[in-house]
Symmetry: C2
Subunit: 383 residues, 2 copies
C-alpha cells in the first residue's frame, strides 16, 4: 500500500516522463454530479455497414475502394492533417526582428494513414483475442520499419519471424520523416466519428511536443543514472510496490502510473528496455497484443460500456541520434475520460487548462478497480 | 494579411508564452463531420431557481445559506479541491533512492472559492453590460488583494477609487499561498454543472504548471530584451499587423493569438505592462469589463448559441520575487471548444494528447469571424 495519508490529503505528484506536476484531490469524489451526461453507445451495430468507409469492399470519400481485407488494412487518410507535397516555405529570418520570435513558424510535411483493426464493423479491440490483435501489432511494426531512417541504429534490427505477412502494401514515403505517432481515438466522447475499429498513424518532419518532452527526460535520466532506462527502473519499482499494477505478463507491465492524469489512465511498458516495435520478437509481439486485450477488456468491464479512450505508442523516433534511440523506451498510453460511470466523465477544463491537471480518485484506487474486472468481456456473458 | 501561403500549407507555430509548438492544418476544415454532436442549451431558464445552490437566498449543499446578494457573491467551495487544513505530510527523502524521483510527491494546501457573477439564474457574462461586469472585476481584485503577500512589491499599490465597495466579506486565509487561479467553466461541454453565472478561484501553496511555464518564458524574455515585457511587445506587433485583432479599447487588446490552440481561442491583454488586477485603476477596470463583454457577446453571436468556454486570468503570483512580479503581464485566456457550429466541436484527443496540439482553421480566419460578429447580442434581437 502507498502511504494511507495520500488517500486523504491534497497533494501534487511529479511525472518524471514529462517533467511536469499534477494535482491530486482524493476527497473530491464525494462531489455530486449534475452536469453533462455522456450517452453510451447502446445501438447494436451490424457486422457490415454498406455506408462505412472502413468496411471491406466499400468506396471511400475520394473514390478509392477498400479491398476485401481479412484482418487489418492501411490507407492514406483522405483528410490528412499533413501532406507529403505542399508549396515550399521558409520564414524570412532577421534575428534582430522581434516578430521572428513572437510570430515564429515552420512548415511541416508528413504522411497520415488510417489502419483498420478488423474487417467487422461492430467489433472493438476489447472484443478481440490477443491472437486477433497480433496482426495489428505486426502491421504497426511493418509501417514503422518502412519509415525508419536507414541511418537509424534500429534499421539493422530484424527479429526472426514465423508469422505470416499481413499483406501490407504501401508506397514508400517521399522523404525521411522524424516521428511516427501511432494512436487511436475510441468512442464519440474522444472525437471518433466512425465506430468501425480503427486507428491512425501520422508521420511528420518535426519531433512533436509530447515525445520531445519525454525524450528529454529519458535522455537526462540515462545520463544521470549510468545509462539505465527510466522506465525499466520504474517497472521494477512498480513490480516491487504492486499497488498500481493492473496486469502483467513476461514482457509487459500494465500500471496506472503514479502520475496518471486521466481517471483510469494506464500505461503499458516493456519490463526490459526495448526501444521500439522492431525490438519485439514474435512471442513479445503476442504479449503486447495480450496487454492491449487485457486493458481494453477491463475498461469495458469496469462500467459495462464500450469505454472511450485515446491511446498512443511512444517509441524511438524514425530518425534519431544514437542517444535518442537508446534512451527511448517502448510504451503505450491510454487516456480514458470516464470517471464514475458510463455516463459521468472527468472534464479537464478551467483549472486544468489554466493552472495544472487535476485528478480526483488516486491512481492506486483506479488500479485496484481495474485489477478486479479482468475475465470474460461482460457483453459475452450477457449473451 | 499574413503570408497567404499559411492558409494552404501545414505548419507549426511557436507559442512564446509557453515555449511550446502546435500544428496548424488549414486545409483540414474540408473534412466532413459524422461524430458526436453537442446539444446546445435550448431550455429557457427561469430568473430564479429554488433548487439552485447559487441563487440568492438559497441553501447550499453543506447547509449554509446565500445572502440576497445584488451583483456578486463569494463563498468557500463546498467541494474544494484543496483545503486550508489537512494532516501534515513530508515525503521521506533519501537522495540515493530512485523511488524519490520516480514516485515524487508534495502536499498542497489552499483555498477554493466560488464567485457568482449576477443574482439572476438565467444570465451569462454575454448578457451583461460592461458596467454590470465591473463588480465582478472589482471582486476579483478585492480577493486578489486579500491574499497578496505583504512582502509582494504589489502590496503597496492601491489605486484611488470612487467605486462603491462590492460588500465582499471573507475570512482571511490561514497561510500565505503562492498562486491564485481565477477561472470560469461555462457550458456543459466545458464541465460546468450549474448554468447560474459563476466562476471559481483556487489558491494554492505551489505555483502550478501553466503559470510556471509562462513565468519562465516571460522572465527569460525580460532578461534578454532589456527589461521589456513580452506581451507589451506582442501587443504592439499585433496592433501593427491587425489581422488577429478581435477588439480593442484604450487599455486592452483582444486577439486570437498567433499560437491559438482552440478554434476560437482569444487572449485579452493589457496594451501597456500591468502586473496584476491591482495595477488597474477604475477606468481600466471598466475597460477590462468591456473587453470581457465584447468577447463573450461575440462568442454567443458567432453560432447564435450560448458559447461554451473555459477562461482564466494569469497575473503576478500572490507571493513572488521582484523579478517574477515585474515579468508578469496581466492577461486572460478564453479556450472555447466549438469549431463549426453550435453542435460541432473540436476534439483535442489522440494526436493532440500523444504528440502535439493541432488546429484546423487559422487564428487569422477565426479573428476575422469574431471581428465581424460584434454588435447587439443575437438573443436580444430575436425578442
Ligand atoms: O468544480 P466544478 O465546477 O464542479 O468542476 C469542473 O471544474 C473543475 C475545475 O476545472 C474540474 O476539475 C472538473 O472536472 C469540472 O467538472
Ligand atoms: O482524424 P479524425 O478521426 O477525423 O479526428 C479526430 O482525431 C484527430 C486527431 O487526434 C483530431 O484532430 C480530431 O479533432 C478528432 O475529431
Amino acid at each position: 500500500m502507498p502511504e494511507e495519508i495520500l488517500n486523504d490529503i491534497s497533494h501534487r505528484r511529479f511525472n518524471p516522463l514529462r517533467g511536469s506536476w499534477l494535482l491530486v484531490s482524493p476527497h473530491r469524489t464525494k462531489r455530486p454530479w449534475q452536469g453533462q451526461q455522456e450517452s453510451p453507445s447502446k445501438i447494436t451495430l451490424p457486422d457490415y455497414d454498406p455506408t462505412c468507409y472502413l468496411c471491406p469492399g466499400n468506396k471511400r470519400a475520394q473514390g478509392d475502394s477498400n479491398p476485401k481485407y481479412e484482418n487489418t488494412y492501411v490507407f492514406v487518410n483522405d483528410y490528412s492533417a499533413v501532406k507529403e507535397e505542399q508549396s515550399e516555405y521558409k520564414q524570412e529570418s532577421d534575428p534582430k526582428d522581434v516578430s521572428n520570435l513572437l510570430l515564429r513558424v515552420e512548415p511541416v510535411t508528413g504522411k497520415c494513414y488510417v489502419i483498420t483493426f478488423a474487417p467487422s464493423h461492430n467489433l472493438t479491440l476489447a472484443d478481440l483475442s490477443p491472437k486477433e490483435i497480433l496482426p495489428v501489432v505486426q502491421t504497426w511494426t511493418e509501417i514503422y520499419t518502412a519509415h525508419l531512417s536507414p541511418k537509424s541504429p534500429l534499421a539493422a534490427v530484424s527479429q526472426p519471424t514465423t508469422l505470416a505477412p499481413t499483406g501490407l502494401s504501401m508506397t514508400a514515403p517521399n522523404a525521411q520523416y522524424k516521428w511516427m505517432q501511432i494512436f487511436e481515438n475510441k468512442g464519440a466522447a474522444m472525437g471518433c466519428s466512425n465506430p468501425h475499429p480503427h486507428g491512425q498513424i501520422w508521420t511528420t518532419t518535426g519531433l512533436p511536443e509530447e515525445p520531445a518532452l519525454e525524450l528529454e527526460q529519458l535522455q537526462k535520466y540515462r545520463r544521470e543514472h549510468g545509462g539505465k532506462s527510466m522506465l525499466e527502473d520504474y517497472a521494477n519499482l512498480e513490480m516491487e510496490k504492486k499497488e498500481r499494477i493492473v496486469f502483467q505478463n513476461a514482457t509487459f507491465l500494465v500500471v496506472c502510473p503514479w502520475w496518471a492524469t486521466w481517471p483510469f489512465e494506464v500505461m503499458i511498458m516493456s519490463k526490459k528496455h526495448k526501444r521500439a516495435l522492431v525490438d519485439l520478437n514474435d512471442e513479445e509481439k503476442l504479449q503486447f497484443a495480450e496487454a492491449i486485450a487485457e486493458v481494453t477488456r477491463r475498461y469495458d468491464n469496469l462500467f459495462e460500456t464500450s469505454f472511450p479512450y485515446s491511446s498512443g505508442i511512444h517509441q524511438a523516433p524514425l530518425e534519431g541520434t544514437d542517444d535518442e534511440c537508446e534512451a527511448s523506451h517502448f510504451h503505450m498510453h491510454f487516456y480514458p475520460p470516464l470517471l464514475r460511470s458510463a455516463t459521468v466523465r472527468k472534464f479537464l477544463v478551467g483549472y486544468e487548462l489554466m493552472a495544472e491537471p487535476q485528478r480526483d480518485i488516486t491512481p492506486e484506487q483506479a488500479a485496484a478497480r481495474l485489477r478486479d474486472c479482468g475475465g470474460e468481456l461482460y457483453r459475452k456473458l450477457l449473451k
